[in-house]
Amino acid sequence: MNFTSPPYLTQNVSVRRIMLQVLAALLPAIGVYLWLLGPIVLVQLAIATATALAAEAVMLKLVDKPLGLFLGDGSAIVTAWLIALAFPPMAPWWLIVVGVAFAIVVAKHLYGGLGQNPFNPAMIAFAVCIVSFPALMSRWPSLNMDASFADHVAVMFGQLPRLDAMNGATPLDTLKTALKLGEGQVSVGAILADTRIFGRMGGHGWEWVAAAYLAGGLWLWQRKVIGWHLPLSFLGGMVALSGALWLWNPAQFASPLFHLFSGGTMLGAFFIVTDPVSGSTTPKGKLIFGFAAGLIAYLIRVFGGYPDGVAFSVLLLNLCVPLIDLYTQPPIFGMKGEK
């Protein structure tokens, strides 16, 4: 007889299933991107995916882990897609390759591979690239530009010079710059009145991407792939600080709604802070992690020098996870009255 160990029954769950569901939850946002920018988004995703799988395969080979099992777990593809979606669309192909390769090789495998990375690999990629290539990482295409898919591809691969329309700023950046230039004389309301840039909530067109992330995230929550603690506390942190400042001085600070639907807020809330590997694991720890990440992301995007703050705030909190977890261990069954 061959011996096995209980429990003999197991739930139909696997790392692969979780990762596939995360990928599926990104599809609505990818759909909106397609509608806004055309198929160039798919090219960016394809480059990222191919780089991730190649880098993953090489690293797995180096440490002698089973290729089929680990390539098939889907975690590298999730990292790749998150990077492709967090980077400016139509970024040069090599920028994507550098970002993804750095994420997989350094942020993931040099720390021990799946489950071992202390930092969110996608956010490491974003941080590395925005520090190394700040100009390229800050240029977002205008949605009103008139260029064909072939032009997009040519630009991406350096065959055509970048069009002016591809060198815009994000609505967040635009607002920040306008407020700075106005030196307190221009009100947020007046700036945001330009709905061609800012749309109704957080950026013309981009607010729909944010809404799609929200939809995908809610689906993940409903499927119990992610819990409510992290997304809600992250959004809570963002709303708390932006709301307080907005109430104090609505002329100089945009409303919480604007901040929820612009930049990487929704992507961060449902797909970045929810990364289990690099995040806190206790219920209280998750609330602290999410809330602090939301606060810091807001501080960086509003008062800092970068167009958005999600990446740096999440990395900062990743650093604090061991400490947070240590001090937020929940009381166990039967020991709640005692310390």
Binding site: S5, S14, P276, D325, I332
Partner: protein, 566 residues
């Protein structure tokens, strides 16, 4: 309306119970040979009371309890003892255990059964009766029941919880017992109630067993008791004693406490049934209801004589062709039977014929991704993911800091783990390592103590001897000078006193005394033994050496089981 409490975590695996409840309980045939392990409960291993060649009757005591936490073992049928030897045990270790092998004579002749009216007995006598009838927790933990029937001296007993939840998938032995023998169960509960004097008696049954709930309600009414029969939500492990106590009373018992300290105690329904049979009919525990199910043509509950080898049950269940092994217990906490020769014991509530289709081979283990599903599923609100890291790193001190010993090994964490990590195995490993180290430390401490005591004794003896010698020498020196005064004879007639000779004589006398002392200390009962007795002693000595380990292990087991109760 009775208000229930909730416990955190838990899982809802498919139950697979419907198949085995279609037929009533049937009596399994008496096998040709029975292998009755002496150690069938938590606690001390009972001493054999019979010898090879003895004729035994059904219900005759063949193993006497060792110390208070132990329970008697009885002959399940009449026949001849053909051997008392190590036999394969129904235990995950697959190690042999001392067993009484009985060849059945087919007559199934009872001893003279003596029903008693327990109302006339002192509580202590009732507890002794239960111990001598072999009544132990039949939910699977086999803790001697009599040892749980004393209320805490300083805490009033508030609730007596009776466990009919039966939360493990596949299992239906308690379900059928409640449906068919509810009144005996209720009367058994009455005994427990009288001994513990609780304010309330609560019978908890998972709500997926409406027939059992109805049967128990009717039984309570028929017997005229005021016990409350309560349907509890079906959520594994609601049948864990601590979870059921939580659901019914709201009390949470940590590993560091025993339930009577919180004014509550818990027994399984089948235990109550056997208690009643033992007291009111004089029938000790010689059989139990076993669910035979799984990959079989004939899933059903059987009343099986303890000691029946698994092999003899195979024809009853008719396993299908692709059956590859048999699991004892449920799929969440059970284990692989080590072989077809392993017997049914008091802990055997269920045998599941298993096939790759029913229990697929485990998927490859992936790294932990810290998703926290295990922590959400843990009914004891532990952080299995942290425990796993520490256990893996052999950081056992940390595992204890993270409350490893509150883990009841229910398997919920492994069930939900997307990385397919056998978490429970890691925790069992860590626990056994910690026990082993504690044992080692205890042994080392004991050895050191012995060594120090010996040194001390030797020092003392040396000092005493020197003192004695000095006294004797002094006496002899004094003697010749005193003598003349006594006898009046001239001192010159006495031989000259030689100090050396006196010393030598003293040494010779001391050696002679020491020799005699040594002889006296020798155990006297080994002097006039027959050859057979000497051989037996040699055999026992030989057996004792390998037995040291498991005996020590069982001490740890006792402590654990005392905490875990049922």
């Amino acid at each position: 309306m009775f208000s229930l409490f909730k416990f955190k975590g838990g899982i809802k695996p498919p139950t697979y119970k419907a198949d085995s409840v279609r037929f009533p309980i049937a009596a399994a045939p008496v096998p040709a040979q029975l292998i009755v392990p002496l150690h069938q409960s938590i606690g001390g291993q009972p001493h054999p009371l019979v010898q090879a060649g003895d004729r035994v009757r059904k219900g005759q005591r063949i193993g006497a309890p060792d110390k208070w936490i132990s329970s008697a073992v009885h002959a399940p049928t009449s026949g001849t003892v053909i051997a008392i030897e190590e036999r394969l045990a129904a235990h995950p270790s697959g190690l042999p255990t001392l067993s009484v092998v009985i060849e059945a004579d087919g007559r199934d002749e009872w001893i003279k059964r003596q029903p008693v009216d327990y109302g006339r007995l002192e509580p202590e006598q009732v507890r002794e009766l239960l111990r001598d009838a072999g009544v132990v927790g039949l939910g699977g933990a086999v803790f001697p029941s009599h040892a749980k029937l004393t209320a805490a001296s300083d805490v009033p007993m508030e609730e007596l919880v009776i466990n009919g939840a039966e939360c493990e998938p596949f299992m239906s032995c308690d379900d059928l017992l409640m449906r068919e023998r509810g009144e005996d169960i209720v009367r058994g509960i009455g005994i427990f109630r009288d001994l513990l004097q609780p304010k309330r008696v609560l019978i908890g049954i998972e709500d997926n067993k409406p027939e059992a709930i109805a049967a128990m309600q009717a039984a309570v009414k028929a017997v005229g008791e005021n016990f409350e029969v309560i349907a509890v939500p079906t959520l594994y492990p609601a049948g864990g004693a601590k979870q059921l106590i939580r659901v019914l009373t709201g009390k949470e018992i940590p590993a560091s406490k025993r339930s009577p300290d919180l004014g509550v105690q818990c027994f399984n329904v089948a235990t109550a049934y056997t208690a009643w049979r033992a007291i009111a009919f004089g029938e000790p525990v010689i059989s139990r209801i076993v669910t035979l199910t799984g990959n079989v043509a004939q899933p059903r509950n059987w009343e099986v004589l303890l000691g029946t080898p698994l092999r003899d049950l195979v024809p009853l269940m008719q396993p299908k062709a692709d059956t590859n092994r048999y699991v004892m217990g449920g799929p969440m906490m059970g284990f692989d039977m080590p072989g077809l020769d392993a017997p049914i014991v008091k802990a055997t509530n269920c045998i599941i014929a298993s096939s790759p289709a029913i229990f697929p081979p485990p998927a490859p283990e992936m790294p932990c991704i810290r998703c926290g599903a295990c922590a959400e599923a843990c009914p004891h609100e532990l952080q299995p993911l942290e425990l796993y890291w520490f256990a893996r790193a052999h950081n056992f001190g940390k595992t204890q800091e993270y409350n490893l010993f509150d883990c009841i090994e229910c398997g919920c964490c492994s069930y939900v783990c997307p990385s397919r990590i056998p978490l429970v195995q890691y925790f069992r490993f860590a626990k056994s390592e910690i026990w082993a180290r504690e044992r080692e430390k205890e042994n080392a401490d004991a050895a050191r103590e012995r060594f120090e005591l010996r040194n001390e004794r030797e020092e003392r003896e040396k000092a005493e001897k020197a003192e004695r010698l000095a006294k004797a020498a002094a006496a002899r020196v004094a003697a010749p000078t005193q003598q003349p005064a006594d006898t009046g004879q001239p001192a010159t007639e006495q031989p000259a006193f030689d100090p050396d000779a006196a010393k030598k004589a003293a040494i010779a006398a001391a050696m002679e005394r020491a020799r005699k002392q040594r002889e006296q200390v020798k155990p006297k009962n080994t002097d006039e033994l027959t050859v057979a007795q000497r051989k037996e002693i040699a055999e026992i000595e030989a057996r004792r050496v390998p037995l040291q380990e498991p005996q020590n292990a069982s001490n740890a087991e006792i402590q654990r089981a005392q905490r875990e109760e049922e």
